[in-house]
Amino acid sequence: MTSEPTDLPEAAERRMTSGAFTSGLSVADFAACLEMGLEPVGFAQGFCAMQWSPLGSSMSNAMSPYRSTTGGGYSEMFNCPHGFVSNDHRQWGQNYEQTWYESAWHTGFDAALQRMVEEATEAGAHGVVGVVDSQQVMGDGYLLEFHLSGTAVKIPGAPALQQAPFTTYLAGQRLAKVVEAGYAPVGVVATLSSVRMWPFCITEYQLHGSGLSMFATGVSTSEIDQVVRAKSYSRQIARDAAKHALHGDSLHGARVTTSERELGQGEIDYHTVIRGNRIRRFQDFKALPVPQPTVRLS
């Protein structure tokens, strides 16, 4: 167990080290954990409320939808082929990665995760199983609350860990299958990407049928390139971040959720979140017999 100082509330330290354990496991999962030699020691939780700036990393962003690329993320310009038409005509468009939002999200998630792990560490756990995470928008929409919870477990008689306990979204039978298949649970992985699209005239016309009027005759039916690139990059960034977090291990049971939010003046935020379990092979794969089909009579 690590001896590093934690920022746990004193009451939490007392509660986690008291005699009776608490657990978020169902009775079935509890039984399966006992079968694996895992003993629940406490219901660990972590919270973090994060605020992010709607203006991004610079006050100059308040003056223009254009974002500089100094944040180092993905950014791409789209130029109007028509020249100056009117003040309303969108002569340029841009897709850009909202690195400051991604940073706030990851900081909030990681802080809540670390706090949950600290509680488990305090209780002498080797791992946290059945992790559940949730996020809620608070207040004016620029506040996000992260909440992670799971059941801290230990293996009686096993040596104390020199690092933080492992974490996994799995519990019960599903965790047993992973372990029996020769994989060790390592940690929960969650990544988010956020790409904002400021459409230029062609995209605006293709999406909404507005913004081009007399120039519309020159626009053919085609793929809406700016949207495709924004969405594709959003997925790629989230996937690359997840792979980066693996350090050579594997991601199992990945769940991808995508969402989009239309803001004013045709701007759209595209978000991609990937969650999954980081696992590490600890024994060679043993080939299974070919599955035998069955028909259940009921």
Binding site: S222, R235, R239, S250, G253, V290
Partner: protein, 280 residues
């Protein structure tokens, strides 16, 4: 007792858990990580027939539909059908390229998300790229795509068949206007609106034919797990749409292999089976 083996097998699950903890303590190895959205059951099914997951892959396309496309007219709304076809093909091509770039031979468990708007059609495909264990990379043109689960893919292969790709067909049709006289005379009656019924039949025939043509182009002998979606368009109530897609299959061996399933009577009470509300 263990989760994977029959009740009488001697498997030391607690010992395996201790070994897993030891591996965790030693830190990361030098392996080449894979990503997958498969459950462990699905991954074990794949391994049992000599396949393995490689990478989680996606492909998408957003294709425009010209303004005024959905205004009143007659017959098929060709521009909308064309947008759907193009979006599906472009999304599929991207999925194939991504799968080929990671050395996969196919993509299983593809989740098809589709949204049709007045101005554009969006198709999104996500799945896990797979290959025979240790097999060399192949060209993107030869990568198969399937919306069958890894379990169904395993069963299909065991029966001597193989998936070739996803075939899709779509058609959007205007429901002809009723004459003013017909509207007036039908207003107080329970009556079938044959213009809508006929439009739906027309869209159905065209879409199914397109899907079957796509299957034939892949040299397939059939399409399994066909999904159909039909109904009026939310933004144009005088138009109906019909879309269908499924996995094209072909006999891989000389003849179909009978899998001869064993009949079982489960003594389990489903209500007390192990369950986890977290990711599986």
């Amino acid at each position: 007792m263990s989760a994977l083996t029959p009740p009488n097998s001697e498997v030391d699950l607690a010992g395996a858990m201790r070994a897993a903890l030891a591996a965790y303590s030693q830190g990361p190895g030098s392996g080449k990580g894979t990503t997958s959205d498969l459950s462990m059951d699905e991954e074990l099914n794949l391994h049992a027939i000599g396949w393995e997951p490689v990478e989680f892959v996606t492909g998408l396309s957003v294709y425009s539909t010209p303004p005024m496309t959905w205004s009143w007219g007659q017959g098929e709304i060709s521009a909308a059908s064309y947008s759907h076809e193009q979006a599906f093909q472009l999304a599929m091509a991207r999925l194939h390229r991504q799968a080929a770039s990671v050395g996969a031979h196919g993509v299983v468990g593809v989740e098809v998300e589709r949204s049709i708007h007045a101005s554009h059609t969006e198709i999104s495909l996500m799945g896990t790229a797979v290959r025979p264990v240790g097999a060399a990379a192949i060209d993107a043109d030869h990568v198969f795509t399937s919306d069958l689960s890894a379990r169904d893919f395993t069963l299909l292969m065991l029966a001597g068949w193989e998936p070739l790709g996803l075939a899709a067909g779509a058609s959007f049709v205007f429901a002809p206007r009723r004459s003013m006289g017909a509207v007036m005379s039908q207003q107080t009656q329970n009556v079938e609106l044959t213009n809508f019924t006929e439009a739906m039949y027309s869209a159905r025939e065209t879409a199914m034919e397109r899907m079957q043509s796509a299957a034939l182009a892949m040299k397939g002998t059939g399409v399994v797990e066909v999904k159909v979606f039909e109904g009026p368009m939310y933004f144009a109530s005088h138009a109906v749409g019909f879309t269908a897609w499924g996995t094209v299959v072909r006999l891989r061996e000389e003849q179909h292999r009978h899998v001869s399933p064993t009949m079982v009577v489960s003594l389990d009470d489903v209500d007390i089976a192990f369950s986890a509300d977290t990711l599986g």
